[in-house]
């Protein structure tokens, strides 16, 4: 063998020894790796910040590596995002735990899914964050009722909730803001409120289902997750109730027109509890010019009634969710902290966010009634009014008003239930007046409606639909606040009665009601249940199904939430009072219980909008029947159609 050949053999053997001996060589560098630990899977509205920063963990041989550079890189074009430095790339050092956390990533204006990578020197692979920029539809919601989450001495508290939620075309909740307030121990932090981080809207083909809101406030709902029962009336408007066992309530969810701003004249009412934790209701008119609020307010504060106090304040510019503040408002010497959510420039939800009092309600534009109102602004109307959940004496009333503008008088027929004292189909008469700014009053002088006698009355824009603010028909109406001692907390509305034909009361209706009761079978202390549903009226009968929130155990000995509860009742027209009907009984069947009968009185404003109350010895309620507007469904845009169909598939 030659010397060269021997050398070659030695080199090969040495190389083999090196190759086969890697694992046992103590001088070999341990493996560096990087993994995504936080922020992947997020969805953000286009041109908005992601809720959570991105975080990646670097380890070397399995041990966290501090003080190394991690580079986050988003796509350079298309759907992407920018870090705080305004670019798609950011380099961050790892901390003592080996974690590198990015700055806030803000989505660009392009909708779509993409990945952000995180790399570190020495690692053979990168960490990946899957993200999505989404366009969404914004809805405003508000409701009020009784909660169980902050009970004092095992008793419920009043609460109010208002917010805005952005939902993408697949039914995913992208983001949102809200304010929750029981005026006792649970109030969303101010001025920012709660953030809605994610959630899901899931409804069936009938528009019935749930809206889950995952918030950053662990004190609310179930560990921060609120579930609302939902019944769409149409693509833009739904009846809602909290539906997670933490509370029961009634309210509305409505498509928002954003951006919008408040301007001009408004009529308003809102209701809740005062700083003594007694029922209170406010009503009045105000105008906004250059962000300055001036107006008049009536207050029924635990039976102490004050009228036409000056109302002054300042409106802040709304944020991208249509949320803003009305600051500097002082009523009866008490400074109120008010937030608002825009549905549209002429429909605003207002919530009191003080931590010692609470209230919620609405303001509606007045249009021509801001300066040119008069007694003629109230036409023949159907009215309804109900206490809030903390009223001294629960009551609900509904009826028909037939005004005579020239004399400032009215006649009518109405029903009222005051905790088992019932006036059915009672003749009412009285006086009313409306000033040029839409501020007015109405008094029932014949004592026909028990203790219900005196209202503040505030005229709205005749082009508005007070039940469904996105609907262009409706004819406006007036807002009402009860000014009777003992009936504090009551607010309501009157809308034009344009059709009393019995044959118009047919077809598909979304319905709901807020029910107060005395006979809690469970022995639990609480006095409210709520329901929403969808039914069909045909041949003088209602049949449908609904969601019943019986958190306080009216129907059975335990607290329950009932889905797909059957509703059924025969409708009898009151021939002496066109537009009035009775439904005796309306049977509601929950779980395996026998049907529970309720005595309903129904007042028809038009075929598509009716008010109903129940007048029983152990329960009373006020609610509405609103018709699915077929014409709107056909005409809704493709994106909305897709959303409905997607949700329907998801629920099946």
């Amino acid at each position: 063998m030659s010397r060269e050949f021997l050398c070659s053999i030695l080199v090969i053997l040495s190389s083999l020894a090196l190759l086969t001996g890697c694992g046992s060589n103590p001088s070999q560098k341990p493996m560096v790796s990087i993994t995504a630990t936080k922020g992947s899977g997020q969805e953000s509205l286009t041109s908005a910040a992601f809720a959570s920063p991105l975080a990646a963990k670097v380890t070397t041989g399995g041990t966290p590596t501090a003080g190394v550079k991690v580079t986050f890189t988003a796509p350079s074009f298309g759907a992407t995002g920018a870090f705080a430095n305004g670019t798609a790339t950011e380099t961050v050092m790892t901390d003592f735990s080996g974690i590198a956390t990015s700055s806030t990533l803000t989505a660009n204006a392009t909708e779509g899914s993409y990945s952000v990578s995180a790399t570190v020197a020495g690692a053979t692979t990168s960490a990946t964050f899957d993200l999505r920029n989404a366009t969404a539809t914004f809805f405003s919601f508000y409701l009020n009722g009784l909660e169980t989450i902050d009970n004092s001495g095992n008793l419920p508290s009043y609460y109010a909730l208002a917010g805005s939620v952005a939902i993408d075309s697949s039914g995913n909740v992208v983001s949102g803001e809200q304010d929750y307030n029981d005026g006792f121990h649970v109030t969303s932090p101010q001025p920012g409120g709660d953030f809605i981080l994610s959630g899901t809207l899931a409804v069936d083909a009938n528009g019935q289902g749930t809206l889950t809101l995952i918030t950053n406030n662990a004190a609310l709902g179930s560990a921060g997750t609120e579930t609302l029962g939902i019944q769409f009336v149409n693509a833009n408007h739904a009846l809602i109730t909290q539906f997670d066992g933490s509370a029961t309530s009634s309210g509305s969810l409505d498509l928002q027109t954003l951006p919008s701003a408040m301007s001009g004249g408004y009529a308003f009412t809102f209701s809740g509890v005062d700083s003594n934790y007694e029922a209170v209701a406010f009503g009045g008119v105000f105008s906004i010019s250059g962000g300055t609020v001036t107006g008049k307010v009536d207050v029924n504060d635990a039976g102490i009634v004050t009228r036409a106090d000056d109302l002054n304040g300042t409106v802040t510019t709304p944020d991208r969710f249509g949320r803003g503040q009305i600051t500097g408002v002082s009523v009866n010497g008490i400074l109120l902290s008010l937030n608002y959510y825009l549905v549209s420039p002429e429909a605003i939800r207002i919530i009191d966010v003080d931590d010692i009092d609470s209230a919620v309600g609405s303001a509606f534009g007045q249009g021509s009634n801001a300066t040119a109102a008069g007694n003629g602004s109230l036409g023949k109307s159907v009215f309804g009014v109900e206490d809030n959940s903390w009223g001294s004496i629960y009551y609900a009333a509904a009826g028909i008003l037939v005004p005579r503008a020239g004399s400032g008088t009215f006649t009518g027929v109405a029903d009222n239930d005051e905790e088992s004292t019932i006036a059915a189909a009672a003749t009412i008469s009285g006086t009313y007046s409306i000033a040029s700014n839409g501020y007015g009053s109405l008094t029932i002088t014949n004592a026909g409606l028990l203790d219900v006698t005196s209202f503040g009355l505030y005229a709205t824009d005749p082009s508005l639909n007070l039940l469904d603010p996105n609907n262009t028909s409706g004819g406006g109406g007036v807002l009402l606040v009860s000014l009777d001692s003992g009936l504090e907390g009551g607010v309501g509305l009157a809308i034009p009665q344009t059709d009393t034909v019995t044959n118009s009361f047919k077809g598909s209706y979304a319905f709901g009601a807020q029910v107060y009761e005395s006979a809690f079978l469970s022995g639990a202390t609480g006095w409210e249940f709520d329901y929403i549903g969808l039914g069909s009226v045909s041949s003088g009968a209602l049949t449908g199904t609904g969601a019943v929130n019986d958190t306080f155990g009216f129907f059975s000995s335990t607290s329950n939430l009932y889905n797909a509860a059957p509703f059924a009742g025969a409708i009898t027209a009151d021939t002496a009072n066109p537009g009035r009907y009775t439904m005796v009984p309306l049977n509601i069947t929950v779980g395996s219980e026998s049907p529970t009968p309720f005595s309903m009185a129904i007042y028809q404003a038009r075929g598509s909008a009716l008010f109903w109350i129940n007048e029983d010895s152990n329960s009373l309620s006020f609610g509405t029947l609103q018709q699915e507007p077929t014409a709107v469904r056909v005409g809704r845009n493709a994106k909305t159609e897709f959303r409905f169909n997607t949700r329907a598939r998801a629920k099946r």
Partner: protein
């Protein structure tokens, strides 16, 4: 809060008897209540023995809890409202006890009902409603204590 009212038992029982006597003809009339809903100037005070405690109202009776108080003028239906028997510092184990009651008689749905403002039992006064007749919730009691205000 007017503890001296309780010593005027004989006089108010006479007024109470008058009220019950008037109740019969009033039933045929329209139920019109004067404003305000709870008129403190019409308050009466009387003594009696609790003969019954209703934690929830039977059909036709004003909602909330009730005491049935036996007096020399007959049994009085005394409405305690929603919170009279629940929550911290609420009335308890009161059946069969001697009580002094302050309130306003109201005709509600054809029945004479006493809206109770306070009950004195075993030397302790339990405030049920404020001077405007608003039932005091546990939250309202706590708020009053925090403000240092009388109930």
């Amino acid at each position: 809060m007017g503890c001296n009212r309780f010593v005027r038992t004989v006089r108010v029982i006479a007024r109470l008897m008058t009220g019950l006597w008037l109740a019969v003809p009033l039933m045929a009339q329209t139920a019109v209540e004067s404003r305000p809903y709870y008129d403190v100037t019409n308050e009466i005070a009387f003594s009696g023995t609790v003969s019954g405690v209703l934690t929830t109202a039977p059909p036709g009776m004003t909602w909330g809890s009730h005491l049935l108080v036996a007096t020399i003028a007959g049994t009085i239906d005394a409405s305690l409202g929603r919170w009279g028997l629940v929550g911290n510092e609420a009335l308890s184990r009161i059946n069969g006890k001697q009580v002094d009651v302050l309130g306003v008689m109201k005709r509600i749905d054809g029945r004479q009902v006493l809206l109770v403002r306070s009950v004195k039992v075993d030397g302790k006064i339990y405030v049920i409603r404020n001077t405007r007749g608003v039932p005091l919730s546990p939250q309202a009691r706590e708020r009053a204590v925090r403000k240092g205000e009388p109930l």
